[in-house]
């Protein structure tokens, strides 16, 4: 009985649906705008190009979402990625690709672990996480600058057939689908299953939504936060590997703005700012939306400084919509 009333197509229900799914609507509006602005928009090459562009930021958004879900915030993801990227290229040069991947993942996870432990120590929520990761991000940038000596670290040229590391960032699978996007989607699928279908994921969402009741229900909120921040750091490491393989070079400024991009993607995709609900589907929607916005701005020939302003305006709009949903 109830369900039939809820499913009826009344103006109020339609309004509610629009209010709750602004992220999807925004994505479709942008796809239509993109199709109008450029006739090449729907070609597979352009779409794969968009996917390739959003992968690094999308990976950072996965990291940001993991911390948002436990009502935290990670501002260090950009600089963490820069640190992992310079380490990755530095080790790739002297010890080979496998060592580079291991080092990048370990460095990212360590950064995340430290952030998580400090947030646990302060019993922190998003504002404490924000301040702590602001400081640790700047420390990561300083370390990256120290490691690379203030200049670009560049991978030496190797014949393409022997260069398997490069495939991670630039290679294509059958049909031209980029490998890096495949990695990104695989990570998102795994994390989505963990968040939505396992006990651990449910505990995570509960401790993000209401840490007091989660504590009373016997959940070790602190430990869950530490794990979430560590996974976020690990995602930064993966993002750094893709970055290194894609651009073949990195410096201490590689991650500047990455934290902001990650947060924008995560929030315009529809993840709640204060934890408790959201997931990787939202990250995907947000990343596609963000990629389309950047792509359209580029197609219209707008300078990167103005793009800052546009992206800022979009994020403000998104957090206003987030508030509207809760009202």
């Amino acid at each position: 009985m109830n369900s039939t009333i809820r499913n009826r197509l009344t103006p109020k229900n339609v309004g509610d649906w629009i209010k709750n799914n602004t992220n999807i609507l925004l994505m479709f509006v942008l796809i239509i705008v993109g199709a109008i602005v450029s006739e090449n928009f729907f070609k597979a090459s352009n779409l794969f190009n968009v996917l390739r562009q959003i992968t690094v930021n999308g990976m950072l958004a996965v990291a940001c979402t993991m911390t948002l879900l436990v009502n935290g915030f990670d501002l260090s993801i950009g600089h963490n990625m820069a640190l992992c990227a310079v380490l990755c290229i530095g080790f790739e040069k002297s010890y080979g690709g496998v060592a580079a991947i291991i080092v990048a993942l370990a460095a990212g996870a360590t950064m995340g672990l430290v952030n998580g432990l400090l947030v646990k120590l302060t019993r922190g929520e998003s504002s404490e996480g924000f301040m702590i990761t602001l400081a640790s991000g700047m420390m990561a940038q300083a370390l990256a600058k120290w490691y690379c000596g203030g200049s670009e670290i560049i991978r030496p040229q190797i014949p393409e057939s022997q260069d398997w590391f490069r495939v991670l960032g630039q290679g294509n699978t059958i049909g031209g689908f980029p490998v890096c996007a495949l990695i990104w989607i695989a990570v998102m699928v795994i994390l989505q299953i963990i968040v939505k279908k396992t006990t651990f994921g449910r505990k995570m969402l509960l401790s993000g939504a209401n840490k007091k009741s989660a504590y009373l229900a016997g959940i070790n909120v602190g430990a869950i936060k530490v794990i979430a921040y560590t996974v976020a750091g690990l995602c930064c490491g993966i993002a750094a590997i893709i970055y290194a393989a894609r651009f073949n070079s990195a410096n201490d400024g590689s991650g500047t703005g990455g934290d902001f991009n990650g947060a924008v993607i995560s929030i315009i995709g529809g993840n709640a700012l204060y934890g408790g609900h959201g997931g990787m589907v939202q990250v995907f929607i947000g990343a596609v939306t963000f990629g389309l916005i950047t792509n359209i701005l580029q197609l219209m020939g707008i300078s990167s400084a103005v793009q800052f302003i546009v992206q800022g305006a979009i994020l403000l709009l998104a957090i206003n919509l987030d508030r509207l949903k809760k009202r």
Binding site: T122, S126, L134, A135, A142, A263, G312
Partner: protein
């Protein structure tokens, strides 16, 4: 008899206790100065004191504004970009051969306009301050880069030169005296006016002050405007020595200023602290930053040490506040 003992006056014990509890930052600052002066003969020279007070003035003026923000229980990381933007506007006005006074007024108005915009979203929509300020940081930086076309604006103005050449006792710049005047004016404003007292109340407990009939959002908003004003002043003060502005000039001051205010004793939770406390925090940390150059720490690692100080300050502040809570 026991009553009489209380009235004996300050004993060595009570003085010692007071020195540790209430005056530990001034005591530490004086101690650091003495120790450094004994260890390194170049520390207490008039030139080095000039360097310390000059950098203290620049960071300190911004720190006064940040004190207001913390007192009212909010956060703002956009002031770095406000410093850049107002410095750029100021130098562009001077380059366009406007009068000095007009350039100062316009720069201050720009700073206050930035504060008004950030505060509008925080106070009226009650959005989380860190997300808003993170966004606005990027927007202001984008504006600064757009109007300067991403190139530095340099010019030597006779008034700036004159301000820079005045040195009291051959070691204290005029900007530092100006900073001291501002500190005492701001402290008077906070302690002796109704508006200032209400800022403490709003920061201490926003729902109580709402129930008392105080328009909390108005106080939050005005704290952001005051912050914008001081950030613009800091931008102008920076120009007295460097005479060259660009869109990134204020980015580093974030890492300098935030620990100064918190070390001084203004709590991140709001409602506790003051501008005199900030003055001591500014002096102490300016000396610490200056001391780093005496111990041959490699230049890229100096931001690392600064970040470490910020991290320790934040974590210890929050840990002391919350150590008895379970989660």
């Amino acid at each position: 008899m026991t009553n009489m003992k209380k009235n004996v006056g300050p004993t060595l014990h009570t003085i010692g206790k007071k020195a540790v509890t209430d005056y530990r930052i001034p005591v530490l600052a004086v101690l650091l100065f003495v120790v450094m002066a004994l260890l390194k003969p170049n520390f207490a020279t008039s030139y080095n004191i000039y360097t310390i007070t000059d950098s203290a003035a620049k960071s300190g003026i911004a720190a006064i504004g940040f004190t207001f923000i913390l007192l009212v229980g909010q956060l703002d990381i956009s002031f770095g970009s406000v410093i850049s933007l107002s410095a750029c506007v100021f130098m562009m006005m001077l380059k366009a051969e406007m009068s000095f006074a007009l350039a100062v007024v316009v720069a201050l108005v720009v700073g206050m306009a930035c504060g008004t915009l950030t505060g509008f979203f925080v106070a009226n929509f009650r959005l989380s301050p860190f997300i808003v300020s993170m966004t606005m940081q990027l927007v202001y930086k984008g504006i600064a880069l757009t109007i300067t076309k991403s190139t530095p604006v340099a010019m030597t103005h006779p008034v700036l030169k004159a301000i820079n050449s005045v040195k009291l006792l051959d070691m204290i710049p005029l900007t530092f005296l100006f900073f001291l005047v501002l500190v005492f004016a701001a402290e008077f404003f906070l302690r002796r006016t109704q508006f200032g007292r209400n800022i403490f109340l709003v920061g201490g407990n926003i729902s109580v002050s709402d129930n008392l009939g105080i328009k909390s959002s108005r106080y939050v908003w005005s704290a952001y405007i005051i912050q914008g004003f001081f950030a613009a002043l800091a931008g102008i003060a920076m120009m007295t020595r460097t005479s060259s502005a660009n869109g990134n000039i204020g980015a580093g001051s974030l890492l300098d200023v935030i620990p100064m205010v918190i070390v001084g004793g203004t709590s991140m939770a709001g409602g506790k602290g003051g501008c005199i406390k900030t003055l001591w925090g500014v002096l102490l940390l300016s000396m610490v930053y200056n001391s780093m150059t005496f111990f041959s720490i490699p230049a890229p690692l100096q931001p690392f040490v600064k970040g470490l100080i910020l991290l320790v300050v934040i974590v210890s502040d929050k840990y002391m506040e919350r150590r008895h809570e379970k989660v």
